[in-house]
Symmetry: C2
């Protein structure tokens, strides 16, 4: 368990202009900056551009009228409705590059008109009913970690918008140790839950990069996937029951059986999972838990190329399968591997060895196992080693894997530093079938590279393995242009178009929000969009819930039902 000690410590909530505690902002060393200049011609801006002071953010006056504010205060209590500057700015968006860029540069125009902190599910229903009556848009807010605009306070056709912060719904309602399930409120953060579960020998096993800040409700409505998804499954696979508050009342689905073990009609719970606050607000959930691991191991392996690694990782997923394959499997492409190796003396030495062997684009694989039994863990590793050696993989310094494990939640801190220094930095991700993986990988990398130009780092890793395919996760950075938001839009659009054209999904785990809505609409097709709009119209006829996110807008003339609702 000591290997996982950091998983039970709840971090302070994020600063409004960046990630987590600004004291922990992670700087690149002068050596790394020198390397970036030499290898890529990337230099920081001459002048740092730190975030503006809170008081310097331009904040429009709240448009919520006095009656509305008073009614809200009556429902949830005076102390739990805020129109203060800090609260409004802290809820002005998620943690996407555009969200942070706007706030850092003093643009508070996206801030909600008020923030409400309901105490429980029935207060949530009351707030939604009030908002529907008074035509106020409502944006549910958990950890606020969306990187796709999912919690941006978009007004839509409404004059006012409030952010509905669920932090007070943070109870562990009950734990069923026999069935290994827990009933939980959505505002809980992962570490709060693990701190309760680990002493009982249990875990949820969900550790996305946003772990320090994200909430269970956020995981659920975005169909989150944690780093150990090969071991514990995607979040949705562990959802047993969901209670959703809507303007039309409360809805509970599931709970009579483990996960999907029923044939009582379509799995409607999957309409709520991934609904991103557009259909209602999650007020309670029951999740499947797992035995907490006591044994841990990690290894680094090197492949002669990224595609050699694809074949090996495919064999891990298809031939070993769930329960035997590593719980975490990450495979970095040549560029990302070089970045990793360049960070340490041992890495540089390893790079020389690879080059001497003729592997000019070595691809690093980081594996991690978790188990409850040492013998079983050893056997699982041996089985994986056979697969890896068959694919021509060679052991690389374990310190690389160790470094990844201990820094796995640090990425967002580094972004704050890069933005200080005038660097444009973004990540995006997709997934596809094994057969399509090499083609999609190159196409997306090339599309990003074409947009960011030659003085840029564009790197990729595979980090979620399935029987039928895998995810691709790109990280790229270069100097900010004069209009970084236009730059962001251009790169994002180019990459997304190529993902769609080459048969990838627009998002493996970042969700849809505002940024992926157009491509998600293509993915669900016209009839799929009609299904989703029909469901929304039924649960949220006034359309107040999270406008502008996920649900494709109606392009052509609305039909009778939609006209009735608008």
């Amino acid at each position: 368990m000591k290997d996982d000690a950091n998983l039970v410590e709840t971090a302070p909530r994020s600063v409004w202009h960046g990630w987590g505690d600004p004291q922990l902002k992670k700087e690149l060393s002068p050596l790394v900056w020198r390397g970036l200049k030499l290898a890529k011609g990337i230099e920081p801006a001459e002048q740092d551009t730190p975030p503006v002071a809170l008081d310097d953010v331009e904040l429009p006056a709240s448009t919520l009228d006095d009656d509305g504010l008073a009614a809200l205060r009556t429902l949830v209590g005076d102390a739990y409705v805020s129109v203060e500057r800090r609260e409004r700015i802290e809820h002005a968006g998620g943690k996407s590059y555009p969200d942070l860029y706007r706030l850092r540069t003093g643009d508070g125009s996206h801030a909600p008109d008020a923030v409400a902190f309901p105490a429980d599910g029935s207060e949530v229903v009351e707030v939604l009913r009030l908002a529907a009556q008074r035509e106020i848009a409502v944006v549910p807010f958990g950890g606020g970690t969306s990187v796709v605009g999912g919690v941006d306070p978009v007004r839509g056709r409404f004059a006012s918008v409030i952010s509905l912060d669920l932090r007070r719904l943070d109870a562990v309602v009950s734990i069923d140790e026999t069935s290994r399930t827990a009933t939980l409120q959505p505002g809980l953060r992962g570490a709060q839950l693990e701190a309760v579960l680990r002493p009982r020998g249990l875990t949820l096993g969900h550790f996305p990069q946003s772990y320090e800040q994200a909430t269970l409700g956020g995981y659920l409505v975005t169909r989150s996937s944690g780093q150990a998804s090969s071991g514990y499954g995607r979040f949705e696979q562990n959802v047993v029951a969901v209670t959703l508050a809507t303007p039309e009342g409360e809805l509970t689905l599931g709970g009579r059986t483990p996960s999907s073990a029923t044939a009582a009609g379509p799995k409607l719970i999957d309409v709520l999972i991934g609904s991103e606050g557009t259909l209602g607000v999650i007020t309670e959930m029951t999740l499947q838990l797992h035995e907490g691991p006591t044994e841990f191991a990690y290894e680094t392996w090197a492949f002669d190329s990224f595609t050699d690694g694809f074949d090996a990782f495919r064999a891990l997923a298809q031939d070993l399968g769930h329960g035997v394959m590593p719980d975490v499997s990450r495979l970095s492409d040549g560029e990302e591997s070089r970045t990793i190796l360049a960070q340490s003396a041992r890495g540089l030495a390893a790079m020389a060895t690879f080059a001497a062997r003729g592997a000019r684009e070595p691809s690093l694989g980081v594996l991690r196992w978790e188990d409850t039994d040492r013998t079983t863990l050893r056997r699982r590793r041996r089985q994986a080693h056979r697969v890896l050696r068959t694919a021509g993989a060679r052991r690389a310094p374990a310190s690389i894997a160790e470094h990844w494990i201990s820094h796995r939640f640090r990425g967002p801190y580094q972004r704050d530093h890069l933005m200080d220094r005038g660097i444009f930095v973004e990540t995006l991700e997709t997934a596809t079938t094994w057969a399509n993986l090499p083609t999609l990988y190159s196409a997306v990398r090339d599309a990003i590279s074409a947009e960011v130009g030659p003085h840029a780092v564009v790197q990729c890793h595979v980090s979620h393995l399935y029987d039928g395919g895998a995810s691709l996760y790109y990280t790229f950075f270069c100097r900010e242009e004069s209009d970084p938001l236009a730059q962001w839009r251009r790169v994002k659009t180019a990459a997304s178009d190529v993902i769609a054209a080459h048969g990838g999904t627009i998002t493996h785990h970042h969700a849809v929000g505002t940024d992926h809505r157009a491509w998600a609409a293509d993915e669900m097709g016209e009839l799929g969009a009609r299904i989703l709009r029909a469901v929304k119209n039924e649960l949220d006829p006034a359309g107040i819930l999270n406008p502008g996110k996920l649900v494709p807008p109606v392009d052509d003339a609305p039909d009778a039902c939609e006209a009735g609702a608008s």
Copy 2:
């Protein structure tokens, strides 16, 4: 592979009045009948009541008008629209007890007015459009094996109803051996597919008791679960993409990623899975395949009681988990175990041994492993043995497991024999959490027993294990009363009410159809029912698709949208 030879042989289509080939009808031996009389007071009726002759079935005239028939024939071809007696009767229902009882006794009143056999997806769309225009109900028909009224030609508010038989859509469209997926048409039967996959070293791994007759489309729309679900997953877990034909056009969801590996909004494909022909007709699907097993093993174990077995099976699922636990795990309660043991001399000897040890309700467990590697299979068995011995289980004659494996698709043949002899015989199933399993088991057993009286066999097994819970499957029989359909309704209602009252799901894998609709409605709740109706209204505004099944009817005043559609 020889152990699975029977999985690649396609059986002839079922006779209209029973299961499969009537020559294979399985009779109980005089010894077994004697045992039933002694132990339970169950005797066959004095006179056998075999099915009436085909020509003696009372069949109403087809209500389909000449124009409608001609239009249908124009769309799919003269040879592929039938109003013949045999076709109409073969499509008059599924294989539930009421379905068979009615046909055996000459009641053909449920027969459809015509049967259409479209050639492909576009013909299906055309037929649905025609039916919507002309107000003809359409009942999609695959293998016709529903035991819950799922393919009964209910007319609803329409004058005519046609059965849409999908047997001509039986192509293996393509196989992607890298991603291990196959794109398939819905009319394929399992054995047809396995015959193509096994020589390539692949399998779908889906083997429900209906295997000889059921189709892939049927598996998909009923959220089917095969006997080896612990090894290969429930059917829905292997669905990668679905194309649905609706009166509003075609809809394809999924396909860009393995199974659920996307966060691009709610998993709308799960609205189509389990939709039982009420939202559209599946015309194509892509499924995840698995490596075909080459090594097999089976074992029988005995527990001192059913609940001792629960604990052991829970440990198999929770502590060993997917990939290690047996691929098939069946645990019979005391009554079912006695039935099994009484069938052989070795069983009777074993029973004596159990009694001598003081186990008066011994509970038999049948386990089966499938693997691609002999060493791995041996290790998996050893791991399971540790779990089983910890729970106090003892080995029992392997011949019991062997008998189950070789007879696992024979159950429906035995029912035909029992019905010939005036016996009322039914099965029903549910699932719940591990914590609730003992309570639910007893409650349902007691409810059935109270209805069927003392001269009856009521037995149960657990056959699908999950992290969080398991299924319960009841088989019961006794003498037919004077009105067997009323008897069926009474027992079914009592059992279903108790399942609902004690927190079980109304069905683990039989689906909803007509028979479970009221309880499924309770399970999804009022808002859940509104979601499902909203989706149906969008895809099938005329309401022609499979009336009377699954979708809860509107009790109260319809809202504007529903009124508009009717």
